[in-house]
Symmetry: C2
Subunit: 177 residues, 2 copies
């Protein structure tokens, strides 16, 4: 089948005149195994960079690895088996980490996770605009991830994500979801 014909808007009924960007973003698991270029990844992180945050603290950090690299393998190893089953076709894996304190005074931030979620959403929407797909995951060992990724004191892992190109079984991925 022609994956270009898969459009979430065919089976998502959005209301209130919302911009199609939002219902068009979905989280398929079926990725093609194709690579994406580093500059394509950087565009996603650039979108995330413009997200708002309390005191403009920008608490989000992205640890990423492109397919075929040691960094990718390192991130992949943290996933639970049910995520490994499909994420091996991702073009990149990302661990999303937040700084739990404010840079300007070192005090605890109430919104570091919330702010990092905002940055993640921007990344996901830029991804959609670019015709890529991204699927966030909490299916990994958080404690092991913080150790394996050398996440320093004062930072915590919020989620991981797989980024890639849509695969031919994207519809199946939707059914699994």
């Amino acid at each position: 089948m022609n994956v270009d014909q898969i459009d979430p808007l065919d089976h998502r009924d959005a209301g209130h005149g919302v911009d199609p960007l939002f219902p068009r973003r979905w989280s398929p698991r079926a990725m093609s195994g194709e690579e994406i270029r580093e500059d394509q990844l950087m565009r996603l992180f650039e979108a995330a960079r413009w997200a708002p945050s309390s005191y403009n603290n920008q608490p989000w950090r992205f640890l990423w690895g492109r397919r075929g690299t040691a960094e990718f393998a390192h991130l992949f190893d943290l996933l639970v088996d049910s995520n490994k089953a499909w994420a091996d076709d991702a073009a990149a894996l990302v661990a999303m980490v937040s700084r739990t304190t404010f840079e300007h005074n070192g005090k605890p931030s109430r919104t570091h996770a919330f702010d990092t979620g905002a940055a993640w959403m921007s990344l996901a929407l830029q991804d959609t605009i670019d015709g890529l797909i991204v699927h966030a995951m909490q299916g990994f060992d958080y404690d092991r991830a913080e150790e394996a990724l050398n996440v320093p004191e004062g930072y915590t892992v919020q989620a991981m994500a797989a980024i890639g190109r849509p695969g031919a079984t994207a519809v199946l991925g939707e059914k699994m979801a």
Copy 2:
């Protein structure tokens, strides 16, 4: 001055070919005091509704009040004075609350704040698309908010936000930021 001429892109230098939607979204405090219609608000919440979340738990809840209502006054009363100083020109106030557990099994969610931040970002971007402005705040008493808003056990307030139309001193608001 003509507020329509204020464009964050005039003084924001975004890179990597990122979609202008992201740098165009900003957080001015200067709002016009004009109302917005309820269907305009619903469009923002609809955008938020399409955000991804772990197990599709959609943990976000929005408590909102439009200008001139008792609900608005109730939300406004929670703000610190420095936010009251400008938020009285907002068209709506919103408290963003997250459910801390999964609906399907009642277990704690690791990502409820992160997911709610994703929904918030979608709201903010739809707001930008619609020519409105929105400014999130953590400048309020969280404990008092949870009590005053009757936030039930298992839910927690993540942030508040003011939504409105751009005011004539929007440039000043940017300088304050």
